[in-house]
Each structure stands twice: as structure tokens, then as C-alpha cells.
């Protein structure tokens, strides 16, 4: 019944440049544009009313079952005058230019030619190729919602919309990437989010000029103001509840097609230490856990440098009993404290990276090998002291307490910088490194908003949800540093 025309007949025009701007759609023109595309199909079918209809589509992008059900079957036995009226799917649009035709085809539409009216229609029937909604692997929590974003943009928007079923939740669509044609969706709550953030984000997205975007972090790179910083200036998350909460505070959310990670901005250094579970736990417990994260972050930065500083420059700072333990442990080592720490830190990073890249079952074995065998063997072989192995273990575990994985990665580089300074200048070097870090953080911005807010700029009212997480009933207003248009979180102020 179907007559497959093929698409390899126009070899003479293969190398001609494609000019598709505003030209009229014809089947020949379409064939020219889709030359050498094996999955592009042109089929012609005759209806009961002896009417010849042409279908053009890309086989790998469309849903064949729905194509049969909602287009072929109704058209086969149609009694309607217009093709448009026969199609039983809602996403039908009229197309007039070749540019539109190609864009629709590549999105998974089927182009249908109405020969009577000489009109082309596009019916969107995308192949529903996607994984289901799964639990987040990067931000795991015990309590709270378990769903996470997938690669399907519409599905991701749905997950946020279900949490914020309000008409004020706006979505603006953009396309970025000359090759990837990635869809970027800017989400915000109208009348709540500061218009300045929306305008900046909109402008930055429009200015993006690059060929390919495979992940939202790449979009973030083009929107950042400080490219040479190790700190993320957008919060990358695959949790819809985090996005919904951020939107509710007055931030913007950016979703990118074909990636399960959304971007929230403006973000501050302190936001990266907040976990969705903070708002589920009792406030005292949540505050304790959050404080623990900050302390762990600091510990992971300075524990090893402190060991190097004390053993290299400031033996007099170590209490006598501890000094004996340290002397015994380091007595036969051939390396200086710096090289000892540097080597073990390097090995630790290799193990961490390898455990991430290997299959799950292998990574467990690797953990055992790395943690016990290498650790113990290094001590017995005389490469490292037992004290250092203990400190290294604490430091490595402490670094993982930060909920944001990008932050954990940044942590290693900062630790290395402080390690070098501590070997040169001891305690003074550590403080010097920390000051440099604070100065750097103080100068960073996210969507042109200070990164260290509400510490600096100083908004003391926002401290209720900074180092501690105050009781929700007392957190009556939205964070001042986000300058939301609606200050109060209650619909009626109590």
C-alpha cells in the first residue's frame, strides 16, 4: 500500500549548500534537504476518496504506533473534507516555510501534505524514548520526595508544575546551540521573583553562542560571570522539590532539554550547604546537621594542611603526649610531611575518581582495596604515618558531607592549595590560604548577586536560615538578599 520513494535519488544536488530560509515547501525541496539521511522517509498513500497524501518524517524520531493510530487509520477511512479534521492528535500546526518544516521534522513531527489545498501540516508525534522517573543519585535523602528529573524536558516541567500549581509560574522557552538545538526553559514566579534576575537570565541565555550543549552545566558556564573560579555559580540539581523551593524563595530555575539537571540561581555559597532534608527534620536536628556540614567542610580543607604545618614548622604546638605518638608514627618515614601528605592525597583522589567511573559492584571492591589494603599497606611499607591515614580518612569523609557534589570537587583543589601554603608558611600559610579563599568568595557573584550573601552583604534577618535552620513558623519572610517582590511567606501576615 505504501510506496516508499526513498531518498537517494538526488545525488547531483548532495553537495549544494542548504538554503532553507523562507523557501516554499515542496517534496523535491524536502528531499534535497534530507538527502543521505537513511532514516528520513517519504511515503505516499491513497485514501478511500482516491486522494493522494504525502507523509514525510524521520523514522527514528517518531512514535510509529501513534502514527498508525492517530494519522494513518483516520485518514484511510476519513469522511471529513479536510485532512486537518481527520487527525486525532492535538499537536497539529500549519507550516509555511522550509525552515519550519525542517525544524518540525527534527523535533519528531510528521509532515503531511494536503494536495487539494496545497498545504503542509506538522503533527508532533515524538518517540517517547525516555527512562522513567527514578530516585536522585546525586542528592539522596532518607525522607522527602524521591522523584528526580529525567532527560525529558516536558516531564521535568510537569514535576515542578505539580508542586507549584499556580498561574504565576511562568516558563519561557529558548533554543541554544547551533548543532544541538537544545531547548532551554527559564522558569520563575511572576510577581515574586525579582525582575532584575529574570532580565539578566533572559539576556544571558539570548547571548549564548556555541554549537553544542549536552548538559545544563555547559549552559551555566556561558551564563557565569567568573569563569576561572572552582565554585559553581549555579546550583545544579536533579530534584524537582529543590527547584520548586528555590522558585518559591524568589530564584529562577533553568531547565535544559535532554539533561536531568536543572539550574537554580542566584545561588550563594551557603545554599550549596543546604539539603532538602533540612526542611523535613526537626529544626534543632536540622541546625545541628547543617552546622556539622560547615565544620566538616572546614575540616576537610585544613586537617591535612594542619598536620603538615604542625609536623614541619610548629612542633611546639603539639601537646607532649600527642607528640610522642606522632614521633613514633613518623620515625622511620623517608618523606617530609608535605610529600607524605601529597602522595597519599593523590592516591586518595585516584581511588575516589576510579570508584566513580567503575561499575557499582567493582567500586565496592575498590573501596575495600583502597580503604584497607592501600591504607594499611602504605603504613607497613613506611610510606605514610598512621596518624596521616586517620586524618586523611576523616578529611575524605568530611568532604562528602557537603550536599553539592561540585563543591566537593572544588574542595580537593582548595585543600591542595592550602597544603602547599602550609608546607611553606605553617599555620600562617593556612590562614593566608583561607583569607585568599574568603576574598575570592567575597568577590564572586551569581546572576550579578553577591555569592557570600547574607554574610556579606550583611542581611542579619536571613541568618535564621544560614548556619542554622530556624523553626519554619519563625521564618516568616523570604530571604531579603534575594529581594523578592513578595516579602512575606504567609498569604496573610500573622
Amino acid at each position: 500500500m505504501f510506496k516508499k520513494k526513498g531518498n537517494d535519488g538526488n545525488k547531483s544536488i548532495e553537495n549544494q549548500p542548504l538554503k532553507n530560509n523562507g523557501t516554499t515547501i515542496t517534496s523535491d525541496a524536502l528531499k534535497r534537504h534530507l538527502a543521505n539521511m537513511d532514516d528520513a522517509e517519504f511515503i505516499e498513500r491513497t485514501t478511500d476518496k482516491e486522494q493522494k497524501i504525502m507523509f514525510v518524517y524521520i523514522r527514528t524520531l517518531i512514535d510509529h504506533e501513534r502514527f498508525n493510530e492517530s494519522i494513518i487509520q483516520p485518514l484511510m477511512h476519513h469522511s471529513c473534507d479536510l485532512i486537518y479534521e481527520c487527525i486525532t492528535t492535538s499537536k497539529v500546526s500549519e507550516i509555511n516555510t522550509m525552515e519550519e518544516a525542517l525544524s518540525q521534522l527534527l523535533q519528531g513531527s510528521i509532515l503531511i501534505n494536503d494536495p487539494i489545498r496545497n498545504q503542509w501540516w506538522a503533527v508532533l508525534l515524538q518517540n517517547p524514548l525516555a527512562r522513567g522517573i527514578e530516585t536522585s543519585e546525586t542528592e539522596t535523602i532518607l525522607y522527602g520526595s524521591k522523584d528526580s528529573f529525567s532527560e525529558v524536558l516536558e516531564q521535568n516541567i510537569t514535576m515542578i508544575r505539580r508542586r507549584l500549581p499556580i498561574a504565576e509560574l511562568k516558563t519561557e522557552k529558548f533554543t541554544v546551540g547551533s548543532l544541538s538545538k537544545s531547548t532551554v526553559v527559564l522558569m520563575y514566579i511572576d510577581g515574586l521573583t525579582n525582575p532584575e534576575f529574570i532580565a539578566i537570565a533572559r539576556e544571558k541565555i539570548k547571548q549564548i553562542n556555541y554549537d553544542m550543549f549536552l548538559d545544563s552545566s555547559q549552559v551555566a558556564t556561558f551564563m557565569e560571570e567568573h569563569h576561572n573560579s572552582v565554585f559553581p555559580q549555579f546550583q545544579q540539581t536533579d530534584r524537582p522539590d529543590v527547584c520548586a523551593y528555590s522558585l518559591g524563595l524568589g530564584k529562577i530555575t533553568i531547565l535544559v532539554g535532554n539533561t536531568p539537571f536543572a539550574l537554580n540561581a542566584p545561588v550563594t555559597f551557603f545554599h550549596l550547604f543546604q539539603s532538602p532534608e533540612d526542611y523535613i527534620n526537626r529544626w534543632i536536628v536540622a541546625s545541628f546537621l547543617r552546622s556539622l556540614r560547615y565544620i566538616s567542610f572546614l575540616l576537610s580543607l585544613i586537617l591535612i594542611p594542619m598536620y603538615v604545618a604542625l609536623t614541619t614548622h610548629h612542633y611546639q604546638m603539639i601537646p607532649l603526649q600527642l607528640l610522642f605518638v606522632l614521633l613514633e608514627s613518623r620515625g622511620k618515614l623517608p618523606f617530609t610531611p608535605f610529600w607524605e601528605s601529597f602522595l597519599i592525597l593523590g592516591v586518595m583522589e585516584i581511588i575516589k575518581e576510579a570508584s566513580l567511573r567503575m561499575p557499582t559492584k567493582s567500586s565496592q571492591t575498590l573501596g575495600v582495596i583502597g580503604g584497607i589494603v592501600i591504607g594499611q599497606a602504605a603504613v607497613q611499607a613506611g610510606f605514610a604515618s598512621q596518624v596521616l591515614i586517620v586524618l586523611m580518612g576523616i578529611s575524605a569523609i568530611a568532604s562528602f558531607l557537603v550536599p553539592n557534589y561540585l563543591m566537593t570537587k572544588a574542595n580537593t583543589l582548595i585543600q591542595l592549595m592550602i597544603l602547599i601554603l602550609s608546607s611553606l608558611l605553617g599555620i600562617f600559610g593556612i590562614v593566608l590560604g583561607l583569607i585568599a579563599l574568603l576574598i575570592h568568595l567575597n568577590s564572586l557573584t551569581s546572576l550579578k548577586q553577591p555569592y557570600l550573601a547574607p554574610l556579606t552583604p550583611f542581611y542579619w534577618k536571613d541568618w535564621m536560615d544560614l548556619f542554622i535552620r530556624g523553626p519554619l513558623v519563625n521564618m516568616k519572610s523570604r530571604p531579603e538578599h534575594l529581594r523578592p517582590l513578595k516579602k512575606w511567606r504567609y498569604s496573610q501576615r500573622r
Binding site: H313, H314, Q316, M317, I318, P319, L425, G426, I427, F428, I430, V431, L432, I435, A436, L438, I439, N442, S443, P450, L452, L455, T456, P457, F458
Partner: protein, 370 residues
């Protein structure tokens, strides 16, 4: 060429930043040597008295802050004094800034050298302190002002370290007597001058008035900062008196630092090393701010109206570094010359703190009449 936004103004700061800035600018090197020079317990009243005088000066400065000339910055000064006079004053100011910078920088480096790194050459320490201060300054005035919050919060907690010195058996109440002076010596005058110079710092903040909101509450913020400083001076002085007693206090070169050495902790034996290193947070802030003022002053004195450049700022920092090295070798290492330099800065610090606001206020009045 990429711009170097050193003096950009994107938003006006609230008065709360004045509290943080002033409070830290008043807690520099002189605070650390204060007990050695004050010695007598009755100097507590002098601290409070000079604190009251400082409050009057701050009221004058707050009047400047609320004037329209303050918001105009350099142009405001030009309107008041004329361009030539402003350039001459800026040139004189360079020397004053350099002197203040040298005493505080070299003083801090000496403490680090004495208590943490005796084997390291002070020149290296000067280099590192200046390097981190330049890094702060290179981020611009706005970020430096914001950094004052960090400087304040990272160092204010150190006061708690001195609480144990108020509790027996270390503390003896009779160490606080006599509270009423029986004689007034030359050393007492020197102490008074030192306190006045220690309170100084706001006369440099007033040059940053364009970055602040014109707020009627400025005087309130200044008062809070001044109040915090008075409390800190008195608290630390009493702690040192209780620990050493007036007779022994003058024998210690850095009594407050030495007191921290006596504190015990299960993890560290020498807490003073951590405390001294932590002092770098607010010393670097103060030095960074002075570097910015110095570079601004150089540009005004040189009549440079163009955008600031990285090369210009770097050249300024290198000149400061070379000056500091020379001053350290020629003046600071020799004890008698060091004392003279400290005394000179005491006189100049006290004089500028008193005179700059008076002159500005007089100029404002004169301008108001004309």
C-alpha cells in the same frame, strides 16, 4: 583592554558596614602594645575619656557623611577646596597613609616573626602580608568594604579568649588600684596620645563616603563602633592588668599576645600562634583599604582622571613593598628608631583624627555661608 573596576560604585552600602570597618580599623597594632604603654590602672578612665572625645569627632565625621559634598567624592572635595589644594592635600596624605601603613604592617610582621617564624626573614613576611592585602584591594573598594564583615566576625570572638584572665586564681582585684591618678608623668601623656592614635581610622573612612548611603543614622553606627572599641580596649587592658599587675606590665613587649600563650587546650599547646595568624584577617583588611586610598591619592595628586589600571595599581604596590623593606631595615630593626617611628605615628595619627574632621566641617560651614 579589560577595565579594572577598582573604584566602581554599583550600590550604596548601609551604615552597618561603618560599624564593622571602624571597629576593625581601631583594633590594629597600637591595641596590641597599648597595655605596655598605659601601665597604670587609672588609664582606664583615660581610655573612656578619649573614647568620649572620639565620639565627638565621629559626630563631626557623620555630619560630613550627610553633606552633599560627601556623596560627590573627589568632586565634592574640589568644590570645597579647589583642585590645586586637593592635589596638594592628596600629596601630603600619601605620606600620612604610608606612615600609618608602615607602622601597622611592620608591627604585625614583627609579632609574626617573634612568635611564629623566628627563622624566617621578615622581608618574606612583609611580602606575603602585602600580597594578600593587595589581593583584597585589587577586588575594588566595594568588595573591600564588604570584606570588613568577614574581618569583624573572624576576629571579634578572640575577646572570649581573655575571659579566663578575669577569673581567680589569676585575677587579683588589687591589681586594678589605684584607679585615681596620684601623679601624671610623661609616660601618661604618651599613653593618652597612643589611645587617641588607636581610636583614629575614621578619618580615612570619610574618603569612602560616596560608597555609603546618605543616612541620618550614620552617627548611630559610628557610636556603636566606637562603643565596641572602648569596650575592647578597657576589657583587654583590665585583663592585662589582672594578669601582670601594673608593675610588671611595662616589662612585656606584647602583653596581650603573651597572655594567650598561657592558655591551655587539649589539642594545641600554643594557641597564640593561631590567634596571631588570625589577626592577619583584619590587618590585611586595613592594609588593603590603605592601599586603595594610597592608589587613589596617587591618582589625584598626579591629576590622573583616566580609569585605574592594573599596571598602575601593581606599580603602586611594588613601591609600597620596596618602601616597607627599606623602612624595616633602616628604622624598624633598630629599637630606638622604631620607638621614634611609633611615636611619630602616634602624633600624626592623633592629629589627623582630630584635624581632618575639624577642617572638613569648617570648610562645610564656610561653603554654607558663601
Amino acid at each position: 583592554m579589560k577595565t579594572f573596576p577598582l573604584f566602581n560604585k554599583s550600590s550604596a552600602f548601609d551604615g552597618i558596614y561603618l560599624v564593622f570597618m571602624l571597629s576593625r580599623l581601631q583594633m590594629l597594632y597600637y591595641m596590641l602594645i597599648m597595655p605596655t604603654i598605659l601601665v597604670d590602672p587609672y588609664m582606664i578612665w583615660v581610655i573612656i575619656l578619649v573614647g568620649a572625645v572620639s565620639q565627638l569627632i565621629l559626630i563631626m565625621i557623620s555630619k560630613w557623611f550627610s553633606s552633599e559634598f560627601a556623596a560627590k567624592g573627589y568632586l565634592g572635595f574640589v568644590e570645597l577646596f579647589g583642585e590645586r589644594t586637593v592635589r596638594i592635600l592628596a600629596f601630603l596624605g600619601l605620606g600620612l597613609i604610608l606612615l600609618k601603613l608602615s607602622v601597622h604592617l611592620l608591627g604585625y610582621v614583627e609579632i609574626v616573626h617573634q612568635f611564629i617564624f623566628f627563622s624566617m626573614k621578615p622581608s618574606w613576611l612583609i611580602f606575603f602580608v602585602l600580597l594578600i592585602s593587595c589581593y583584597i584591594a585589587s577586588k575594588g573598594v566595594e568588595n573591600t568594604i564588604r570584606y570588613s564583615v568577614i574581618a569583624f566576625l573572624c576576629t571579634i570572638w578572640m575577646l572570649f579568649l581573655f575571659i579566663p584572665f578575669y577569673t581567680p586564681p589569676i585575677a587579683f582585684l588589687h591589681d586594678l588600684y589605684p584607679l585615681i591618678p596620684t601623679e601624671w608623668s610623661g609616660q601618661s601623656w604618651r599613653g593618652l596620645l597612643l589611645i587617641m592614635a588607636s581610636f583614629s581610622g575614621a578619618e580615612y573612612v570619610l574618603f569612602l563616603s560616596p560608597w555609603f548611603k546618605r543616612d541620618k543614622k550614620t552617627v548611630k553606627y559610628f557610636s556603636v563602633a566606637n562603643g565596641i572599641t572602648i569596650f575592647e580596649y578597657v576589657f583587654l587592658f583590665i585583663a592585662s592588668l589582672l594578669f601582670y599587675g601594673a608593675n610588671y606590665l611595662s616589662k612585656s613587649s606584647y602583653p596581650l599576645v603573651n597572655m594567650v600563650r598561657y592558655l591551655q587546650s587539649p589539642l594545641f599547646e600554643r594557641i597564640d600562634m593561631i590567634v596571631i595568624a588570625m589577626f592577619l584577617i583584619h590587618f590585611s583588611f586595613a592594609i588593603g583599604l590603605l592601599l586603595l586610598l594610597l592608589y587613589g591619592g596617587v591618582r589625584i595628586a598626579g591629576g590622573n582622571q583616566n580609569q585605574p589600571t592594573r599596571i598602575g595599581f601593581a606599580a603602586c604596590a611594588i613601591v609600597v613593598f620596596i618602601t616597607m623593606i627599606i623602612m624595616n631595615e633602616l628604622l624598624w630593626k633598630d629599637h630606638s628608631r622604631q620607638t621614634k617611628l611609633i611615636d611619630l605615628q602616634m602624633w600624626i595619627g592623633a592629629a589627623t583624627y582630630l584635624l581632618v574632621p575639624v577642617v572638613l566641617l569648617a570648610a562645610l560651614k564656610r561653603k554654607g555661608r558663601t
